[in-house]
């Protein structure tokens, strides 16, 4: 299908973009890998499309006080191939390899994936696992939103109308990482885990599950059941048993199946991380 007509603004600065977004019925165009299909299918029919692709100052990766800060317009591929991301944010690097294909990652942006807020998308799940902080800019100025508060529902975020996501800050956490997926159409699950082990004892764990609810879920109970204990198969199994979720029920996969698969993938993710 072809998109319905819209007006187009190629923003030359963040301020210009934010000013334009204050109008009625606007949409930010970043990598376009989700928005342009939605336009083509007429599932999105904005009055004005605000293109932020020329805002070079939104495209960067930098270290800041134990965090890695990533500009919203940073392409998936740039983050995936960054040496800084590989050393400081291996969980993000691992997750990015599962996002679409090279040609979609060449254009798709880190900010776009967060703003799109697909419940089973990899980047939002990593953001929840690491408790990332998301910076948004509006006519009021700038505010920071913690990832767990940013994701509100499927494709729903705490971004107020007219706000632009400008950057995301991921804390650097220790440990080996694993990303596990069940990528079937209609039953998309992703589990991301970063687990630090010292002398056989779990020192830190960050685990989140995407696709098992309206937003990615931090598996806090599983983390608590692991930390301070030896990472044996029995301990991992007992920890995973602490995970609860209320996944959707559908023709493709009943909720009971999703729940079981979420546990299987969580066990695999922890097991793979501790054995690397």
């Amino acid at each position: 299908m072809k998109a319905a007509a819209f007006e187009y603004l190629r923003a030359a600065s963040c301020d210009e973009a934010v000013a334009a977004l204050a109008g009625e019925d606007t949409a930010v165009l970043a990598g376009g890998q989700s928005l342009v299909p939605l336009l083509n299918m007429r599932l999105a029919r904005p009055r004005l499309v605000v293109d932020i692709n020329r805002l070079a100052d939104l495209s960067y990766l930098r270290r800041d006080n134990g965090n890695v800060v990533i500009g919203a317009l940073t392409r998936h591929r740039a983050a995936e191939t960054s040496a800084m991301v590989a050393t400081d944010l291996p969980l993000l690097a691992a997750a990015l390899r599962y996002v679409g294909h090279v040609s979609t990652r060449n254009r798709g942006t880190v900010g776009g994936s967060l703003a799109h807020a697909d419940p089973s998308a990899e980047l939002p799940t990593v953001a929840v696992a690491l408790d990332a902080s998301i910076r948004v800019q509006g006519s009021h100025g700038v505010r920071d939103i913690a990832a767990p508060d940013f994701f509100v529902g499927p494709h729903e975020t705490a971004l107020a109308p007219g706000e632009l996501l400008v950057s995301v800050s991921f804390p650097v956490v220790p440990g080996a990482v694993s990303v596990q997926e069940l990528p079937f159409r209609g039953c998309d699950l992703v589990v991301v885990a970063a687990v630090a082990v010292e002398d056989g004892i779990c020192a830190q764990a960050r685990i989140a599950v995407g696709g098992a609810g309206p937003t990615p879920i931090r598996a806090s109970a599983v983390e608590e059941a692991l930390i301070g204990r030896p990472v044996t198969d029995a301990v991992i199994a007992a920890a995973v048993a602490e995970f609860t979720c209320d996944p959707p029920d559908s023709l493709h996969a009943p909720a009971s199946y999703r729940r079981e698969m979420a546990s299987v993938l969580t066990r695999r993710a922890i097991g793979t991380a501790v054995h690397t």
Partner: protein, 173 residues
């Protein structure tokens, strides 16, 4: 809006509405009909072209976004009537039947071999996992890409990690 860009080394411009995708602009306004349009939502890969040196699905880009960009389409691969080595290898290995997926496959394979000159079979399969082919069953495409590896592949398998995309279906979110 007027859009000016470089396509296959030639400076061109035309006017279009903002809603025009780059794929339709290249095909209908500029005549590069080698850009094939299958799904119009990023899923099939047939519209893949190179934009400023990186592959992009031209159905997922607006033409107005390509202002000032350098685009290469399938028409830009062969030079003065000579097929490029990858095209030649597709012909030799029967890497195409109807040819609908071929321009996108070639753009994707070009980028793969540029970034990874000696890919394993699984890396080749992962690289083309976002390009759908209804005819060949993919094996001949994999053979064709292998056949274009330079220096000639010695037929030995390297140990390689299985790229996640190799197992994943072409899904979208």
């Amino acid at each position: 809006m007027k859009v000016s860009l470089t396509v296959n080394g030639e400076e061109v411009s035309a006017s279009c509405e903002p809603r025009r995708t780059l794929a339709d602009f290249l095909r209908h306004d500029l005549g590069y009909t080698g850009v094939h349009v299958g799904c119009e939502h990023g899923a099939c890969g047939s519209c893949t072209v190179s934009v400023d040196g990186a592959t992009a699905r031209s159905c997922c880009m607006l033409a107005v976004q390509a202002e000032g960009c350098t685009v290469t389409t399938i028409e830009g691969l062969a030079s003065s009537g000579e097929l490029d080595p990858l095209q030649e290898s597709f012909r030799e290995h029967h890497g195409l039947q109807c040819g609908f997926c071929t321009p996108g496959m070639l753009a994707t394979a070009h980028e793969l071999l540029r970034d990874n000159p000696d890919p394993t079979d699984s890396e080749i399969r992962a690289a083309i996992s976002g390009n759908l082919c209804r005819c060949t069953g993919y094996q001949f495409i994999v053979d064709a890409i292998k056949g274009a590896i330079r220096p000639p592949h010695d037929g030995q398998q390297r140990d390689g990690v299985v790229e996640p995309g190799a197992a994943a279906s072409s899904r979208r979110k």
